[in-house]
Subunit: 260 residues, 2 copies
């Protein structure tokens, strides 16, 4: 009889090496094989000191054929090794394409366990120091992504995002203009506060704050790193503080000009 191992779908967290869970770190150290997404930082993959490490495409760009290939490789690996780790950015169950892999492993009779992780939205919130929910301001938050497959409609998720007190859009920065347009058409004011956090929790983390009407310009000012867009009144004090700082800078500049 063949050794049949177990596959662990593990959330790698938002990027910082120490925002991995203790369980994830232990599993990586013990793993025989690790399949990892392109978005998982090298420092985290490197924690799997004894494992064979195999890169398997992008977090969100995988085509179905690529997914079938990954499923097959996971099954093969579990038939040869005790501990197989499938490492995904953030949490596996949020925008991680985990279900296809869970179902394929289940169908093949292979045990699978999901190890939850810190999702990028809360790392972005931590970076901003702005809570996603807030007494009297936001009691609910919608997590969405604009990456639209051919079968998928835009209208419903935009409606849900427009109705929620706080909306967090994963990988939303590249389509910032379209996103702002769609939300404005759904009744959100152009003055609604927004923030974009790029590279949340890792080097080159950057936060920008502004309004929905300005979202395209804010996004254009960032680099190409993974970015989280936060939209809602939870950001209003942050926006006001940002404007105050800008006004002070402007006054200082005016004083310098007058003095010279």
């Amino acid at each position: 009889m063949k050794t049949v191992g177990k596959v662990y779908l593990v959330g790698a967290g938002p990027g910082a090496e120490d925002l991995l869970t203790v369980r994830a770190a232990r599993l990586l150290a013990a793993a025989d094989v690790v399949f990892y997404d392109a978005l998982v930082p090298a420092a985290i993959v490197a924690l799997a000191t004894r494992a064979q490490k195999i890169a398997v495409g992008k977090r969100c760009g995988a085509h179905s054929t690529a997914q079938l290939f990954i499923n097959r490789r996971l099954i093969e690996a579990a038939r040869q090794h005790a501990i197989v780790v499938r490492l995904k950015g953030g949490d596996p169950m949020l925008f991680g394409r985990a279900q296809e892999e869970i179902d394929a492993l289940d169908d093949a009779g292979i045990a699978v366990e999901v190890v939850p992780g810190v999702t990028a939205a809360v790392a972005a919130s931590a970076a901003l120091k702005v809570s996603l929910t807030r007494r009297g301001v936001s009691r609910n938050v919608v997590f969405a992504t604009p990456r639209v497959g051919k079968m998928e409609r835009e209208s419903d998720w935009i409606a849900a995002a427009a109705l929620a007190d706080t909306a967090v859009v994963y990988m939303g920065a590249r389509e910032a203009d379209a996103l702002a347009d769609a939300l404005t058409r759904r009744g959100l004011a152009a003055s609604t506060p927004v923030a974009i956090v790029e590279n949340a929790s890792i080097d080159d983390e950057r936060c920008v704050v502004g309004t929905l009407g300005d979202l395209g310009r804010l996004a254009a000012a960032l680099g190409g790193g993974p970015a989280i867009v936060v939209i809602g009144q939870v950001l209003r004090e942050k926006l006001a503080a940002e404007r105050l700082r800008a006004a002070k800078r402007e006054s200082a500049r005016t004083r310098v000009r007058r003095a010279s």
Copy 2:
């Protein structure tokens, strides 16, 4: 001059000791003082071996006066100690009342850092082995809570939850009947698949699966532990599998009865 320390708002994760982040574990080990919510398991609080450990009320039940008292104690602690940890269940920025504390510390000129954690919703999803988002089924998910303050309206969050592909309701089990009613009035079919996960990630973890029309009965069958309600079509295979198992059990029972 007084020593002025730093306050870390730390997510304790969903409950399991090893679903804490590595950063959180290190901060607890180094902390001088830890203020913790009632919902954080004792095993996690105990990781703060050298700290003075202070319980400060419930995760969601704190009144404003209690909150002001916590804010004041955090400020006092930071004026006397280098590392002050404020430990909250799940992630601090989701239903954690973090903003009041961040703002109070900011106003007092005390440095504050937020350490994100694994939120209960993804731990529940891991327990169910059902992804919250799924290609072609769910591209967005709303996190909400029915705990309604006097100033807050029900209608908007229910509408957002009804429109989202997947809805996750924190602490929703106790008000399961009202929740099901409100969502049904908003157009969700009584046949919509639902699940409740009680004590996600810890001892006595329990998952029940059924339909929205059945939510009250499902909730009543659980114990009194913290529970997460998941609603949406991402659960339809899980529900079908559950029904298949129930049908098989019923057939086996019938066979036994006929044989006797």
